[in-house]
């Protein structure tokens, strides 16, 4: 069921990206962020056996490719378990790394500038930095997920304040993941293991919580990321349910997206160069739901290529199109609002 809202319902637009160990494409991409000129920065991650994913791919909505930067490791400008990416008003880039316990900073020309962060639980220390956002004052909000709190720093890493603690009560967290600063300055947090989105004022005062555990409409299972539009609608990467949901400003269910990927430009270029695979693929039915022997959404998504698999980051571009990043499919599905 879909409901026409003030913000409009989402309709599928296109797919971007392709799996690629190097250069053009993504390899276990975990986060995305837009620069003011519309360029999209996609943060990739690695696994123990192959470190090539730890880089940032720069591209745009029209599949333009502008290179990549960063690499795997623990040195300057390198990442081990990069988790999220944010850009400030000047185009400087900030990357959290939950293994190295630090934030790496690159300038607008993507040159490494510095890194900061000290592991610990005292104020200003971090333990597992995950979501990161830049607010209107160019301060950084960081999900300090193992400490179950949100911390605010200057761009240079000077501690300003923190809020939240471990638990299930209002304003408490259980291993939170992503966060988003809304256009009105309020802070939305994907409270991962509490299966909810929490909203706070810009000062960190609890406002409301949305969602409950489950796989029904309006229910969440391990949400990873949230995006907010001007009207206060929430667009949630319902990661554990392998789907995206839209909630109204009061948390009412609006829309459910399961994914409907098509062939991206980069994917088509691969298939055009590999005609045998192209032919076999075109003769296949990639939506064989009738042959599935499981209803586990994770397993279903592993077998049905068109639907979301590990939707992990949701962001609007300046045109109001929602970009849904899928970590396990190494691609982005784009949805536009139709009024």
């Amino acid at each position: 069921m879909t409901t026409v809202t003030k913000s409009g319902i989402l309709t599928y637009d296109r797919t971007l990206g392709v799996a690629a160990m190097d250069a053009r494409g993504f390899y276990y991409a975990v986060a995305l962020a837009f620069r003011s000129d519309g360029r999209l920065f996609v943060q990739g991650r690695s696994h123990d056996g192959d470190t090539r994913g730890a880089r940032i791919t720069v591209m745009d909505y029209d599949s333009g490719y502008y290179g990549d930067f960063g690499s795997y490791g623990s040195g300057d400008g390198q990442f081990t378990w990069p988790t999220d990416i944010a850009l400030d008003s000047e185009g400087n880039v900030y990357v959290t790394d939950e293994y190295l316990q630090r934030v790496s900073v690159f300038d607008s020309d993507v040159n490494f500038v510095k890194k900061w962060g000290t592991q610990g639980s005292e104020e200003g220390m971090i333990n597992g930095p995950s979501g990161i956002e830049c607010d209107a004052d160019d301060n950084l909000l960081i999900v300090d997920h193992n400490n179950n709190r949100i911390q605010k720093f200057t761009r240079d890493g000077i501690f300003l304040k923190s809020f939240g603690s471990e638990g299930t009560a209002e304003g408490q967290f259980n291993l939170p993941w992503g966060l988003r600063v809304a256009p009105d300055g309020q802070i939305y947090v994907a409270d991962w293991r509490n299966d909810r989105i929490q909203r706070f004022t810009s000062d960190g005062e609890f406002v409301a919580a949305y969602g409950e555990s489950g796989d029904g409409e309006g229910q969440l299972y391990r949400p990873a990321s949230v995006e907010i539009d001007d009207a206060g609608y929430m667009y949630i990467a319902d990661w554990g349910n392998e789907r995206v949901q839209v909630f109204d400003p009061d948390g009412g269910f609006v829309q459910l997206l399961k994914g409907q990927a098509t062939t991206s430009q980069w994917a088509q270029e691969f298939l055009d160069a590999n005609l045998d695979e192209n032919r076999a693929r075109s003769e296949s039915d990639l939506e064989q739901y009738h042959l599935l022997t499981t209803d586990d959404p994770h397993e279903v998504a592993s077998q049905i290529e068109t639907i979301f698999w590990s939707p992990i980051s949701v962001r609007f571009d300046s045109e109001g199109r929602l970009f849904v990043l899928e970590r396990n499919r190494h691609r982005i599905q784009v949805y536009a609002k139709s009024m």
């Binding site: 994913g53 042959l291 190494h330």
Partner: protein, 470 residues
């Protein structure tokens, strides 16, 4: 309430080395107090595994979510072995992984291999006929042994042959015609989108959007509906009928019971061992082919409990590594490096999801050559010498509670052997360990170097001949 004796502890330690991955002294005491047969029933009737949640693993280990790479899938399985409360489920999955050996190198599909392992976990203690039907439908097995290329009128005999030779009866108990007829019966058992999936597997293609996990498809239009004669029986057989006939054979019972005996009881079968196998065969038929019933008979047999069965098996690399990690208490949370542990097991000779051939691994003494032994000792020495690990800390804590925290070298060695799972060692081994500790005199836990000394000793114990055995 019965009193727990030293013999009870030693017997429980023996059972847990075989049906689990070892146990701490505290765990052994609890289980011994509960009783041997009760513990056997707990092992055979697993509940919630209570293992490290896949949500947590997938959040941090990106490829444990996609499961594209072999070592990621192997690492994922290691987490399960390390943290599951149902160790026999993991041991039986490991047993069938070697018996029905299916490997990554041909398939390039780690997720499907791990799905096969999960099927072993779910079905491995149940009826053998059910397991063989599931195996015959398993997408990884279908491609591994080319049943996707076996068609009505143009059979590929590979699966039919190995089903009889390696998976159920053993050579000499069937004819070449039986192989052909079995293969005819399994025509039409294939994968969805088989051409595309087989092509991607062959080319190791992850493009454009990475792997697509396989699912089974039965193609009635490609199944041979003709009359078949198999092991003396005739009819319009399908695959399920072939499995049913196989499981009725005495040769099948002898085959599976002997392999179970060698995995869980002793590498070599002597006369007493053969008597135990005969009891297992009786259970096989009496229970209508239930593997759990066969194992119950084995674990409760006089042979299994006897001295002859103690330390009569060489530990495979995976059980060795998992046992040491459980003792150390490491990898209980998502930790960078678990995939490297899987790689270490490969260096020791047992790469999970990567058996050397369709025959699986050559076990027993062949697990240990000089290179593999060095890999084993180095790995566990590092793991157990890390005094920051919770399991090592717990052992140190136990020592600190003993004798006011000051122990003679004999006391240190005996305590550590006990805490690591009531390990029995020869006098010469024990003497060497005591001499090593004695180089620095008594151990006082208040000394700065004491924890390091304990860590070193734990590593040394794990390097002994006895610790290589189960």
């Amino acid at each position: 309430m019965t009193t727990t004796t030293r013999q009870d502890i030693d017997l429980m330690a023996h059972l847990m080395r075989r049906a689990a991955f070892g146990a701490t002294l505290d765990e052994l005491e609890q289980k011994a107090a509960k009783g041997y047969e009760e513990t056997v029933e707990e092992l055979l009737n697993p509940g919630d595994p209570g293992d490290l949640s896949q949500d947590a693993i997938r959040r941090y280990h990106v490829d444990h979510s996609e499961l594209r790479q072999m070592n990621s899938a192997a690492g994922n399985w290691l987490y399960r072995m390390i943290t599951s409360k149902n160790p026999l489920e993991e041991r039986i999955a490991l047993f069938f992984h070697s018996l029905f050996a299916t490997g990554y190198t041909k398939l390039n599909q780690a997720r499907c291999l791990l799905n096969q392992i999960d099927m072993f976990r779910q079905r491995g203690l149940g009826r053998f006929d059910t397991l063989l039907v599931e195996l015959s439908r398993d997408p990884a097995m279908l491609l591994w042994l080319d049943n996707n290329e076996s068609h009505n009128g143009h059979i590929n005999e590979n699966y039919g042959r190995e089903l009889l030779e390696l998976f159920s009866m053993g050579i000499g108990n069937y004819t070449e015609d039986d192989i052909k007829e079995a293969s005819r019966a399994f025509t039409g058992w294939t994968l969805g989108n088989v051409e595309y999936m087989a092509m991607r597997a062959m080319k190791d293609s992850i493009w454009p959007y990475s792997r697509i996990a396989w699912h089974f498809q039965y193609r009635a239009d490609d199944h041979d509906e003709g009359e078949k004669t198999f092991l003396g029986e005739s009819g319009n057989f399908n695959g399920e009928d072939i499995v049913a006939i196989i499981c009725r054979q005495r040769a099948t019972a002898e085959f599976i019971c002997t392999r179970l005996f060698q995995f869980f009881a002793a590498d070599r079968v002597d006369d007493d061992g053969q008597a135990a196998i005969d009891e297992m065969i009786d259970s096989y038929f009496a229970s209508e082919y239930e593997i759990g019933a066969v194992l119950r008979t084995l674990f409760n047999s006089d042979y299994f409990k006897s001295d002859a069965a103690r330390y009569a098996r060489v530990k495979g690399p995976v059980e060795y590594v998992v046992g040491a990690i459980k003792t150390a208490g490491s990898y209980r949370q998502p930790t960078l490096g678990i995939d490297k542990v899987a790689e270490q097991a490969f260096f020791m000779g047992q790469g999970l999801l990567n058996p050397p051939t369709v025959e699986g691994w050559h076990e027993a003494e062949e697990w240990i050559d000089s290179g593999a032994l060095v890999e084993r000792v180095n790995f566990v020495a590092n793991e157990l010498a890390d005094t920051s690990q919770p399991g090592v800390k717990a052992i140190i804590g136990k020592l600190a509670d003993a004798n006011g925290g000051t122990l003679t070298p004999d006391e240190v060695v005996d305590n550590c052997l006990d805490q690591m799972g009531a390990i029995a060692v020869s006098d010469s081994t024990r003497g060497a360990l005591v001499d090593h500790v004695g180089e620095h005199g008594n151990l006082s836990l208040s000394d700065d170097s004491s924890e390091q000394r304990v860590g070193e000793l734990l590593g040394l114990i794990a390097a002994t001949r006895e610790y290589q055995m189960a």
